[in-house]
Symmetry: C2
Subunit: 324 residues, 2 copies
DNA sequence: TTGTAGGCGTTATCAA
DNA sequence: TTGATAACGCCTACAA
């Protein structure tokens, strides 16, 4: 080690960075000064080898290009960075196999993983969480630490909103079959529709892509629905385009609700949607993960933190049209 | 090491993973099988310690939530992953100071950095590239390896396209004053407009945000322009909304061109734009970076790879309207 | 084809 | 308050 040559011993240099309070202040200063001159930066992998802590966590998402994820990733990265932990990002391309491989590879290069919207079977997730610290976001697996964005609340609010505007025939444009969020949303909608006595048809499953939403428009129109709720804003935006093409005006003829609030007011008309606090979820995930990594205890092994997402009324929903 | 207990020696296990061809096939199989059973995964940091290669690179971007970056990040991650290199993602929050700190921290945890749209002064960038392998994307610093997306070509094509449709009065909705891309684009447009003898007014500078584009619509209409080129798709999409509000139809009354092709066909009408091969840029950056890391030589020290971005005709451009 | 020995940079422990 | 030493898990000679 270069710094040692320019002054003291290796352990003193180590302490100057890791436990400065154990050294005389002027020793710390002297070492750091020389280290800076030499362009020395502590070598993390070596440190990892002796401490067993890598100082790195990973965030794994299905698709980085999906605008739902960047805010989560950013929040994770910020929260981790604040604690001196760096963040590895991985993208599973929506492929469960790739996700599984990734998790395995990450096991020895990270202290833990924040797994967002996992597409893996419950059993697999549970097994992973046993061998490597893991916190789920947007996925509910009993016995695994998780942060849940509860969109069911918002879905109920959305359906109440539509029913209040006189819509009696609704449609849900569903997301991926393997998505936990989708089944939650679908369940909440179905139950609420029944309670209110309005009809609800379901289109899908769909990959959350613009084209899919666009293509689903014709099918949804055929059901006679005047109120449409989409799995997410991406599908909703596609639906908006599809409806426009079919000569259907929003919200005059059909009211449309998205989910996740990732497009803000960037659509015409601005989309009524369900706002999920994704940044907060990312932060909470890091807290839970780091607490788990540090704390030896298995105390909170099954902790589930739930954050509610609420309906936001913008301009894509309005009174139901008079019966055709 | 556990696997050793269940069969042979440590170095044999090491070879089973790093140099399988040096071992008898059945030995490799046996070792791997037992390793799998025990849930063994090679410990990368330890490997890094002895080889001097971390097997990790970083991508640094100003803002992960800006839709221009995810495709680049994804491409980097994919290209690196294919070569067994993992990718660390960092976000500078658009702050040069944070960017500088990050680069320093990354020096000992990565083999090199892909730095996208850096906001750092040239001298700083140049200095960093001397102490740690670095490849720039979307930033032109003499003497530093870099991948440039040349949108000037596309800008010329766009203006030719509009002029060919009969537009004589054009407007450019400019991006941030400090942006290298903006000055490149503006220069190309100004020169070409002069060559073709069409007028070009400039609005801005603007931050590349939806609201800014929307607000700029009125100003642009006042110039009498029938052909509008925006710094990027985000501004163009805002402009689209602003024009719609002003009762101006696209492309009937005004033709609109974006840049970067980050919205694909997700606007109505689908935006004519300039497609920057950002995925290709990410891939090229990784190639250049890894070649630099491996190759001892300083041969390509100043390599600049330029990739042309071309005009894509979709539905937001059409014949110029008859003179009012 | 396989085993043995030494070293990579850091930290924890123990001694001074 | 500081130094010496062993150890972390892996890799690369070199030896067998």
């Amino acid at each position: 080690m270069v710094a040692a040559a320019a002054g003291v011993s290796a352990s003193t240099v180590s302490r100057a960075y890791s436990h400065p309070h154990l050294l005389r202040p002027d020793t710390v200063d002297r070492v750091r000064e020389i280290a800076d001159e030499l362009g020395y930066v502590p070598h993390y992998p070596a440190r990892a080898l002796s401490t067993g802590r890598l100082g790195t966590i990973a965030v794994v998402v299905p698709d980085i290009a999906n605008p739902f994820f960047p805010p989560v990733i950013r929040a994770v990265e910020a929260a981790a960075g604040r604690l001196g932990v760096s963040t590895l990002l991985a993208d599973t391309d929506e492929e469960p196999q790739k996700e599984a491989d990734l998790l395995l590879a990450l096991q020895r290069r990270t202290d833990g993983v924040v797994l967002v919207s996992s597409r893996l079977p419950e059993a697999t997730v549970r097994a992973r969480s046993l061998v490597h610290p893991l916190v789920l976001v947007n996925r509910d697996v009993e016995g695994v630490r998780r942060i849940l964005i509860d969109t069911a609340v918002g879905m109920r609010e959305a359906i109440d909103h539509l029913a209040g505007l006189g819509h009696r025939r609704l449609a849900y444009v569903a997301g991926p079959a393997s998505s936990w969020s989708d089944s939650e949303r679908r369940r909440a909608l179905t139950a609420r529709a029944r309670e209110l006595g309005v009809s609800l048809s379901v289109s899908g499953p769909h990959r959350p892509e613009h084209e899919e939403g666009r293509a689903a428009a014709a099918q949804v129109l055929r059901t006679g629905a005047t109120g449409v709720i989409a799995f997410d804003d991406v599908l909703a935006q596609g639906m908006l385009a599809g409806l426009l093409e079919a000569g259907v005006a929003v919200p005059r003829d059909v009211s449309l609700v998205g989910c996740d609030d990732i497009l803000a007011v960037r659509t015409v008309p601005p989309l009524s949607t369900i706002h999920g606090p994704s940044a907060e979820a990312g932060r909470a995930a890091v807290d839970l993960l780091l607490a788990h990594i540090d704390g030896a205890g298995e105390d909170d092994a099954a902790a589930a933190v739930s954050i509610s997402a609420h309906f936001v009324h913008r301009a894509s929903t309005g009174r139901a049209p008079r019966r055709a």
